[in-house]
Amino acid sequence: MRHEETIFSGFGGQGALFAGQLLAYSGMAEDLHVTWIPSYGPEMRGGTANCTVIVSEMEIGAPIIRHPTAAVVLNLPSMEKYEPLVKPGGVLVVNTSLVDIESERDDIRVIALPASDIAEELGNARMANVVALGALIEATGLVDFETVEQQLEEHLSERQREWLKPNKKALHEGAARAKSE
């Protein structure tokens, strides 16, 4: 059964919320149940932004969970907060460009990749979120990459349209790194 409870977390501008939405849209496109819920508020200002995305074949009860089955951490505070919480057997995607500590968990699959650097190489460090999403999807197989590409096309904002192609590349580059890990 496809079912994944993922937390995306990073600094305000890193696009954790958008990466989460992309996953939610993709889940929906594949007729799965989805919920997306952000943390919000003044603590966001200059602080950390995160969201919880549940994608499931079942109807979703609790949209907020204590222990995610997967986590994507884009910066150090996120790593410190969520690494310990991932359920045994789960997945942790770490942006090593900004996280200089290593996970000590051996009961989860840790995918460590320099997402920001990879993104910068592709033209814009802000695509680190999509790089990490690619890695996550590769690791969980929750949705098809094709679906995610479609959703990128539909939901990238006007201002970002020029970045569509690089984003797709970022997605696959993330996936490739995850595979090679």
Partner: protein, 82 residues
């Protein structure tokens, strides 16, 4: 020797860049190669010798990053000029 001198509390800086626009001798810039503890590209002094201790940087900085010093002798003269 420089007329003035600034001490920078690097980790208070949020990299807003305001100070870089108001330094009359244009010696403030944002780091391009390092982040501070808060994750910002922080202010740096590019040419310490040029500082005149005018405190413009401190005056505009929203995050109280600067402590500013000036040479004692020249103080009055400088003040008169300002």
């Amino acid at each position: 020797m420089a007329k003035g001198m600034v001490v920078i509390d690097v980790d208070r800086c949020k990299g807003c860049g305001l100070c870089t626009h108001v330094c009359p001798v244009d010696i403030l810039a944002l780091s391009t190669d390092s982040f501070n503890a808060k994750g910002y590209r922080h202010v740096i002094v590019t040419d310490e010798e040029k500082c005149i201790g005018c405190a413009s940087c401190a005056t505009i900085c929203p995050d109280v990053v600067f402590t500013v010093y000036r040479r004692k002798r020249q103080r009055k003269a400088a003040a008169a000029k300002a």
